[in-house]
C-alpha cells in the first residue's frame, strides 16, 4: 500500500487513532491527523515529523501492547521519521549514510581531526603545533585565517545546500501546495512552538521516560543543547564580524562577546548532551527506535565533543596544549558541519517545517 512497511504500520495506527481521538489534546500530531481521513506517504511523513516523541500517547493509550490492537504511536512515528530523513536526503546517493550513521559520524570525525592535526603539522613545523602562542592572531599561527574561513565556509555552504534541497523535497511531499511558500504568521508560530518545544510536554506534565511518571528532564537538556548550539553559532558569527569589520583577531579576552557567548554555549553543549544521553539510555525501549540508536547517540556525541573541545581550548589556550586542542576542536566542528545533512541534526529542520505546515493548516481551518 505504502512505500515501506513502517508507513503501512503508521497508516494502520492513524486509522485506529482517528476513530478514537482520545489523544487529541496531547500534541499537534492528533489534530493534524483529524484533518485527514486517508493518509498518503507525505501525510505520514508529516505526522511523523510533527511528533516530538514525548511518549504520552503510549502511556495513555488503552490499546498499547499487550492489547491486541498493538498501538505504539511514538515508536512507529520514530522509525517512520528516521526513514523519512533518508527518503528526502540530497543527494539521494548519500541517503544510506543515515542507516550507518554512527559509523559515518565517527569515521568522519576521526578523519577530520586527524586531517587538521596533520595539516597543522604539515603546513608548519611540529614546533608550531606544540608551541605556546598567545595574543591576537595566535590561532592563525597554526592555520591562516583565510584557509580556515575557506574550509569552513565550503563545508557550511555544502551543508546548507544539502539541507535546503532535502527540506524542499519534504515540503513538497507533505502536502504543502507545490512551490507554495510559508506565510510569515505561520513561520512565526512555528518558531515559537519550536523555541519552547511546545509539544515535548506530554500534554502539560512532561515527557515519559523510564516509567509512567512524567518529567521535564528531556525538555531541559534539549533546551540546553539547542540554545548552547545557537550561542556557539552566535559566538562564531560575532567573531567573524569582529575579524572582517573591526579587524580584531581571535583569541579574544574572556570578557569579550564572542568568548562570553561561546562559554555559555559551550556549557550548554556539555551539560545538555550528557543529560540527553543519560535520558536516552534510561528511556523505556518500547518508546525508542532502537535501530537508529547509533544515529542519535552519534549526533549527541558530536555536539558534546564540539562543546567540550571548545571549552578545553578556552581553558588551555595559553599553554602548549593549544595547538592540538585547536586541531581537535576544528576537526569536530568540521565533522559536525559535513555530517549535518545526513544525521540526527535534520530532525530539527524537518520538525520545524512540519510545525510551519501545521500552523498553516490551523490558520486556514480557523479562517474557513
Amino acid at each position: 500500500m505504502h512505500g515501506t512497511k513502517i508507513l503501512d504500520e503508521a497508516d494502520r495506527l492513524m486509522t485506529v487513532c482517528n476513530s478514537c481521538r482520545y489523544c487529541e489534546g496531547l500534541c499537534a500530531v492528533f489534530p493534524a491527523m483529524e484533518m485527514r481521513r486517508a493518509f498518503s506517504d507525505g501525510d505520514l511523513n508529516y505526522l511523523a515529523n510533527l511528533c516530538h516523541s514525548c511518549g504520552a500517547c503510549y502511556v495513555d493509550c488503552q490499546f498499547s501492547p499487550p492489547h491486541e490492537f498493538n498501538v505504539n504511536v511514538p515508536q512507529t512515528l520514530a522509525v517512520a521519521r528516521a526513514e523519512s530523513y533518508a527518503a528526502y536526503a540530497w543527494p539521494q546517493a548519500l541517503s544510506g549514510a543515515f542507516t550507518r550513521n554512527g559509523l559515518v559520524i565517527s569515521v568522519t570525525a576521526a578523519l577530520s581531526m586527524a586531517a587538521f592535526i596533520f595539516g597543522f603539522a604539515a603546513l608548519n613545523d611540529r614546533s608550531v603545533l606544540f608551541g605556546v602562542h598567545t595574543g591576537p592572531g595566535a590561532f592563525y599561527k597554526l592555520m591562516p585565517h583565510n584557509a580556515m574561513a575557506a574550509l569552513f565556509s565550503a563545508a557550511f555552504l555544502y551543508a546548507i545546500l544539502a539541507l535546503v534541497m532535502s527540506v524542499r523535497a519534504f515540503w513538497r511531499d507533505i502536502g504543502a501546495p507545490i512551490g507554495g511558500r510559508a506565510d510569515g504568521g505561520s513561520i512565526f508560530q512555528a518558531i515559537r512552538d519550536a523555541g519552547e518545544l511546545r509539544y515535548l510536554h506530554g500534554g502539560g506534565v512532561g515527557c515519559y521516560n523510564e516509567d509512567d511518571k512524567p518529567t521535564d528532564r528531556r525538555k531541559l537538556f534539549h533546551h540546553l543543547t539547542f540554545y548552547g548550539f545557537l550561542l556557539c553559532f552566535a559566538a562564531t558569527s560575532v567573531a567573524t564580524l569582529y575579524h572582517y569589520l573591526l579587524g580584531r583577531e581571535a583569541p579574544y579576552p574572556w570578557w569579550d562577546l564572542p568568548v562570553v557567548l561561546g562559554t555559555l554555549g559551550g556549557f550548554g553543549l556539555i551539560v545538555g548532551p550528557i543529560g540527553l544521553l543519560v535520558a536516552k539510555s534510561r528511556r523505556a525501549p518500547e518508546l525508542l527506535d532502537e535501530n537508529r540508536y547509533g544515529m542519535d547517540v552519534g549526533f549527541i556525541a558530536m555536539l558534546f565533543l564540539t562543546g567540550f573541545t571548545g571549552m578545553l581550548l578556552l581553558l588551555l589556550r595559553e599553554t602548549a596544549g593549544m595547538g592540538p586542542l585547536l586541531a581537535l576542536h576544528l576537526g569536530a566542528v568540521f565533522a559536525l558541519f559535513i555530517t549535518m545533512p545526513y544525521g540526527k541534526f535534520v530532525h530539527g529542520i524537518y520538525r520545524f517545517a512540519a510545525l510551519v505546515r501545521y500552523a498553516q493548516e490551523r490558520r486556514s481551518e480557523a479562517g474557513s
Binding site: 489523544c23 489534546g25 491486541e68
Partner: protein, 463 residues
C-alpha cells in the same frame, strides 16, 4: 502486608481509586486489590473519555452552565423515572464539587477543542482519555501511601451478619491469601464480561454479544455480596449496550468499534428487513438504543447500509465499510439474500420524500407509507458503491447491583445498613440508573460514590 488495613478497596478503576485516595486522605491505611495485571488495571475506566458533572457557569473546559435541575431532568428522561431520587439528586449535587476534586487528584481536563462530540457543555473530557486519568489517580494514590496489588483477584469474602471481616485472594500476595480490614469498599465493576451470567437473562443470544470493555469485570464480587445478604438493586437485563462493529474483538475493543452512521442510511437484519425507525432520535440517545435493538434480532446481527455520498459525514471508522458496486454484490458479500435486499432498498427509496437534510437537528427528511418509517434524515440510497457495516450488540456495563444509601453504605436484604461495607461505581450503578444512559454518567457515579465510600469507610475504621 500481614498487617490489618483500615480500608480494603476491591477493584482498580475510577471508583476504586477515588475511594482509596479519599480514604487515605481521611487518615486510613489503604490497600487496593486489582484483579487484573498492571497493564489492564482500571477495568472499563481505561476506555472512558469524559464525565458528566453539574456546574453553574461556563469554564475553560465547559462551554456553558449545566444546572443540577437540568442534570436531574436528563437523568429522569433517560431512565424513564427508574431511579432513586434521593440518591440521584445527592449524586448530582456532589458532582459539582467533583469537577475540582478530581483535578486536585492530578487529573487534567482537556480545554474544549471544538471536537467531535456535541457534549462540550455537559461533559468534561479527560486530557489524554481515561487511561491518562487513571494513571494520574494511581500516581496520586501511591504518592499518598496507598498500597496497590495487581493480579490480586478476590475469590471469596468473609462476611458475618452484614459485617466484612476478610477477603480471600486467588494467589498469595507477600505470602498472604487472606486480607483482613476494618472496612470494605467494593468497587469491582459489573458482570458484563461474564457471558454465562448474562445468559441467565438473555439466553443463548448472549453468546453473540461483544463486550466493549475489560474481560476482568465478571461480577464475582457482586455475586458474593448478593449471596451473603446484601440487598440487590436494579433489573439484571438492563445495561448500557450500543451497536458496534461485528468484526470487533470479543472483549476490550473499546470506543473505536462504535458506529454512528445509522442516520445516513438504513439498518437491516439478516433477512434483509428493516426493523426500526433509523431516524427516531438524535445522538447520543440514538447511539444508546441500537445495542438492544440488534440484540432482539435473529442471530443478534444487523447491517447499516448507506451509499458513497455520505462516507465522509461521520467519524472515520476502525474497520472499513464493506463495499459493492451493486446492491446484489453488496448483499453477496454480507451473506444476505440479494433479491430481498434489493427489494428492501427499492421500497425504502420509493418512500423517501424530499426535504432538507440536517443531521444535527430532527430534520424534515421523512418516508411515507412504509413500516417501519424513517422519521428524519431519510434520503435515497442510490449512488454506488454501496457500503455496509455489520453490527452486533456491544455491552458497555450492567446495572444490577448492591443497594446503597447516601453514605455509599451497602444495605442488607433485611433493610439494615451494613456495619462496614461500602460500594461505588458500576457495582452500584443500578441505584441511580434503572435503565437508559446519558453519556458520562458512569464516571460520575464512580467518582462521586467512590469519594464518599472512601471517606465513610475511613471514618468507620478510625472510630
Amino acid at each position: 502486608m500481614g498487617t490489618k488495613y483500615d480500608v480494603l478497596v476491591i477493584g482498580g478503576g475510577n471508583a476504586a481509586l477515588c475511594a482509596a485516595i479519599s480514604a487515605r486522605r481521611g487518615g486510613a491505611s489503604v490497600l487496593v486489590l486489582e484483579g487484573a495485571p498492571k497493564f489492564y488495571r482500571g477495568g472499563n475506566t481505561r476506555h472512558t473519555r469524559n464525565m458528566r458533572c453539574a456546574h453553574d457557569a461556563a469554564t475553560e473546559i465547559l462551554t456553558g452552565p449545566y444546572t443540577e435541575e437540568e442534570f436531574w431532568e436528563d437523568l429522569l428522561r433517560v431512565t424513564g423515572g427508574q431511579t432513586d431520587e434521593v440518591l440521584a439528586r445527592h449524586m448530582i449535587r456532589e458532582s459539582k464539587d467533583i469537577l475540582n476534586w478530581i483535578v486536585e487528584q492530578g487529573v487534567r481536563w482537556q480545554p474544549s477543542l471544538g471536537g467531535t462530540l456535541s457534549l462540550g457543555r455537559t461533559n468534561s473530557f479527560f486530557l489524554g482519555g481515561g487511561r491518562a486519568m487513571l494513571n494520574a489517580l494511581y500516581r496520586t494514590a501511591e504518592r499518598l501511601g496507598v498500597d496497590v496489588a495487581y493480579d490480586a483477584e478476590v475469590i471469596d469474602l468473609v462476611i458475618e451478619d452484614g459485617m466484612f471481616l476478610a477477603a480471600c485472594l486467588k494467589r498469595p500476595i507477600n505470602g498472604e491469601t487472606e486480607i483482613r480490614a476494618t472496612s470494605l469498599v467494593a468497587a469491582a465493576g459489573g458482570f458484563e464480561a461474564n457471558i454465562e451470567w448474562l445468559k441467565q437473562y438473555w439466553g443463548e443470544a448472549a453468546d453473540n454479544f461483544l463486550i466493549r470493555g475489560t474481560p476482568y469485570n465478571r461480577g464475582s464480587i457482586l455475586k458474593m455480596l448478593l449471596d451473603k445478604g446484601v440487598q440487590e438493586v436494579g433489573d439484571p437485563t438492563q445495561c448500557h449496550a450500543v451497536a458496534i462493529d461485528a468484526r470487533a474483538p470479543k472483549f476490550d475493543g473499546g470506543i473505536i468499534t462504535r458506529h454512528d452512521s445509522v442516520v445516513f442510511g438504513i439498518v437491516v437484519n439478516k433477512h434483509s428487513h428493516r426493523f426500526y425507525d433509523e431516524g427516531e432520535d438524535i445522538w447520543p440517545k440514538r447511539y444508546a438504543i441500537w445495542g438492544r435493538l440488534v440484540a432482539a434480532q435473529p442471530d443478534q446481527i444487523a447491517y447499516i447500509i448507506f451509499d458513497s455520498t455520505v462516507v465522509t459525514s461521520f467519524m472515520p471508522t476502525l474497520f472499513p465499510p464493506i463495499a459493492g458496486q451493486t446492491i446484489a454484490e453488496l448483499a453477496g458479500k454480507l451473506g444476505l439474500d440479494p433479491a430481498v435486499l434489493e427489494k428492501t432498498i427499492a421500497e425504502f427509496n420509493a418512500a423517501v420524500r424530499p426535504g432538507t437534510f440536517d443531521h444535527t437537528i430532527l430534520d424534515d427528511c421523512v418516508t411515507e407509507d412504509i413500516t417501519p418509517p424513517k422519521t428524519h434524515w431519510a434520503r435515497r440510497i442510490e449512488t454506488p458503491p454501496y457500503l455496509a457495516y455489520p453490527v452486533r450488540p456491544g455491552i458497555t456495563f450492567t446495572y444490577l447491583g448492591t443497594r446503597v444509601n447516601k453514605e455509599a453504605r451497602m444495605q442488607m436484604a433485611d433493610g439494615k445498613p451494613s456495619a462496614n461495607m461500602f460500594a461505588a461505581g458500576e457495582i452500584m450503578a443500578g441505584n441511580v440508573l434503572g435503565k437508559g444512559y446519558a453519556a458520562g454518567m458512569g464516571m460520575t457515579i464512580g467518582s462521586v460514590f467512590g469519594r464518599i465510600a472512601g471517606r465513610e469507610a475511613a471514618k468507620h475504621a478510625r472510630n
